[in-house]
């Protein structure tokens, strides 16, 4: 065992670092990192944030951090923690402002060469059909508050019922695209107003739609099991709950600060404000968070239909004929009731994943029938110039991380530094030279999101694979990207 002076971390093996209990921590922390990634995070506040999470009442097991960890608000990004439903708390800081920000992957029966000549057209048409950018609104869909509340109750199920996609899609979404404990009465008017015109919009920042292809297969049997083959055209959609989710988080951070005082919780950070899971306020937050999560599921479902429509427009074939089916849809920012084996017995806990992905293994009851033999697909997007990964969940993730793994690359440069680096460069032209067609709503987003601004996602994926908390299946390379 190797001692390290950084936060007294104890190295357990090549990819595991134990953060011993100190101060007011109720439990220890565990960081999944190699030395290279540890170098990236040792100077930001993320390790302290792992310790801060361990202060929270009713935490079960360890305060965990995935290899893409970096400084967040409250929890670190890449933070995972579970809480006892009777003794524990729920915290908006463990979910984040973009509730159920997540990723879905579509496969197709098309091969790279089938679409190569149409990339510019495809990207332009996608950009025209999927509203994107900071204040993007849906020109064709402004929901009444009454209808919006139906979306908040049923999520992607509402979308399918209203003609956006098929029942088959619902079978390939985490939780079937709907958290059942949503209650729209816990969502403020302001949140509703922000959501009314934003269903079916991409938003800005790191959100995107990416057309790519399978360029490497690491496990043929698993790839086959989830319907992926070399050269196959794929589409990744990355977005969340838009202004509605941001407002829900902000509203409940305000409410729960008072609640934390009321219960006398000693907190190291205001963003970690929380309420007992069983308290009125805790239940209200969970019900409102579920509404925002359902909005995000519906949002990705509507965008999926726009993607299908775009392919039909550009290639003149039906979406079904092009095999544009859903592989899976995963949440990156969420708190959920899940059953896990803890100290030899099955217990219900509230798992918070903040910039982390559920990674359940084969034969788990929550994994859809199609993936019972492979394990749940895990989708890890990289930056727009490199590649993304498809993995599956493992038994080891279930025993060590409440069935969780990493969610992405994680930033390497601040936005300002990225802008400075990009100065004098024509990002669109440089990416085009690499064979990637990019269209962004604003140059600002494009330069802030340059490939060099992110860690190489391969470094992150290698750690989860080697540590056994997910298994590599395939790598995807981008051909065309629209950015918010």
């Amino acid at each position: 065992m190797n001692e390290l002076t950084i936060h007294n971390l104890k190295q357990i093996d090549e990819y595991r670092w134990l953060l011993p209990k100190h101060g007011k921590m109720r439990t220890e922390g565990m960081l999944f990192l190699d030395r290279k990634l540890l170098e990236h995070v040792k100077n930001d506040k993320s390790i302290t944030q792992v310790a801060n999470v361990a202060w929270l009442p009713g935490i079960v097991g360890r305060s965990l951090a995935m290899p893409d960890m970096h400084q967040g608000y409250g929890f670190p990004i890449g933070g995972v923690a579970a809480f006892d439903p009777d003794q524990g708390v729920v915290s908006p800081g463990g979910v984040g402002y973009d509730i159920n920000c997540g990723v879905r992957l579509l496969r197709s029966s098309l091969k790279k060469n089938d679409i190569a000549g149409e990339m510019q057209n495809l990207v332009n048409t996608l950009f025209a059909n999927v509203p994107s950018g900071v204040g993007s609104k849906q020109p064709n869909l402004r929901l009444s508050k009454k209808d919006l509340k139906k979306v908040l109750v049923s999520g992607a199920q509402w979308a399918v019922k209203n003609g956006y996609g098929s029942h088959e899609d619902l079978l390939h979404i985490e939780e079937g695209g709907c958290l059942g404990w949503a209650d729209p009465e816990t969502v403020s008017d302001r949140a509703l107003e922000r959501g009314q015109a934003q269903l079916g919009t991409l938003g800005s920042g790191n959100h995107f739609v990416e057309v790519g292809f399978v360029d490497a297969i690491f496990d043929e049997k698993l790839a086959n099991g989830i319907g992926l083959f070399p050269g196959q055209v794929t589409v990744i959609i990355h977005t969340g709950s838009r202004g509605l989710g941001h407002q829900v988080c902000g509203d409940y951070i305000r409410i729960l600060q008072n609640v934390s005082r009321k219960y006398g919780f000693e907190l190291p950070d205001r963003e970690l404000c929380c309420a007992p899971v069983h308290s009125t306020e805790g239940k209200q937050y969970l019900a409102a968070m579920a509404c925002a999560a359902n909005f995000a599921f519906a949002n990705r479902q509507l965008i999926t239909e726009e993607v299908r429509r775009t392919f039909e427009q550009v290639f003149g074939l039906g979406a079904q004929k092009m095999g544009l089916g859903l592989v899976y849809d995963v949440c990156h920012n969420i708190a959920k009731f899940e059953t896990h084996e803890i100290d030899g017995r099955q217990r219900e806990v509230v798992v918070h994943r903040k910039g982390a992905t559920r990674a359940f293994p084969a034969h788990h009851p929550k994994v859809p029938a199609a993936y019972q033999n492979t394990g749940q697909p895990v989708l890890i997007p990289g930056d727009m110039g490199r590649y993304s990964y498809v993995l599956v969940g493992t038994d080891r993730a279930l025993t060590e991380t409440f069935g969780s793994t990493c969610h992405g690359a994680g930033r390497l440069m601040s936005r300002h530094a990225a802008k400075k680096t990009a100065k004098g460069h024509n990002i669109t032209a440089e990416l085009a030279e690499m064979g990637i067609t990019v269209k962004g709503a604003g140059r600002a987003t494009l330069v802030e999101e340059i490939p060099g601004a992110y860690k190489d996602v391969e470094d992150v994926v290698r750690v989860v694979h080697e540590a056994g908390i997910a298994r590599k299946v395939a790598r995807l390379r981008p051909l065309g990207v629209i950015k918010g």
């Binding site: 930001d44 608000y73 204040g135 922000r194 941001h246 902000g250 963003e271 930033r411 601040s414 300002h416």
Partner: protein, 140 residues
């Protein structure tokens, strides 16, 4: 401080800013102006109207978050942006300000930064000697 009256504070994944003022009123006005400057580029030669904005909070820090969040909500839900701000009254728990609001016009105005929320992360609002200072981080 640069000419816009604020300083950008940046870390790998964070974007924040720092403002100063010789009074609490000035500080809140400076924070609002900095926020608007970071978010939008707006033409001013258009129809606008004056509105009274009133926001409450349990302390000065919460007041600052709620004050800036008010403009985020106005923009996101109503498509309105603020071009001028004047604080009329401020206590530890409430602020009243006159704001000139106008409709965001995507043909003439530009969105510069997508802000999800104003956070409590390393938030500071306080006074040292005669100078008021605030530090605010945004989730983007």
């Amino acid at each position: 401080m640069p000419s816009q009256g604020y300083r950008i504070l940046e870390h790998t994944a964070d974007t924040g800013f720092e403002v100063k003022g010789s009074s609490i009123e000035e500080l809140f006005e400076a924070a609002a102006r900095a926020f608007f400057h970071m978010l939008w580029e707006i033409g001013t030669d258009r129809q606008s109207c004056s509105e009274t904005i009133e926001v409450a909070g349990s302390d000065l820090e919460e007041l600052m978050v709620n004050f800036l969040e008010e403009f985020l909500y106005r923009y996101d839900a109503q498509g309105l942006v603020c071009t001028q701000i004047k604080v009329i009254l401020i206590t530890d728990t409430m602020i009243r300000a006159m704001a000139r609001m106008q409709r965001f016009d995507s043909d003439r105005d530009r969105e510069l930064l997508g802000v999800k929320a104003v956070t409590y992360h390393q938030l500071y609002v306080g006074r040292k000697d005669t100078t008021w200072r605030a530090q605010i981080f945004l989730d983007i």
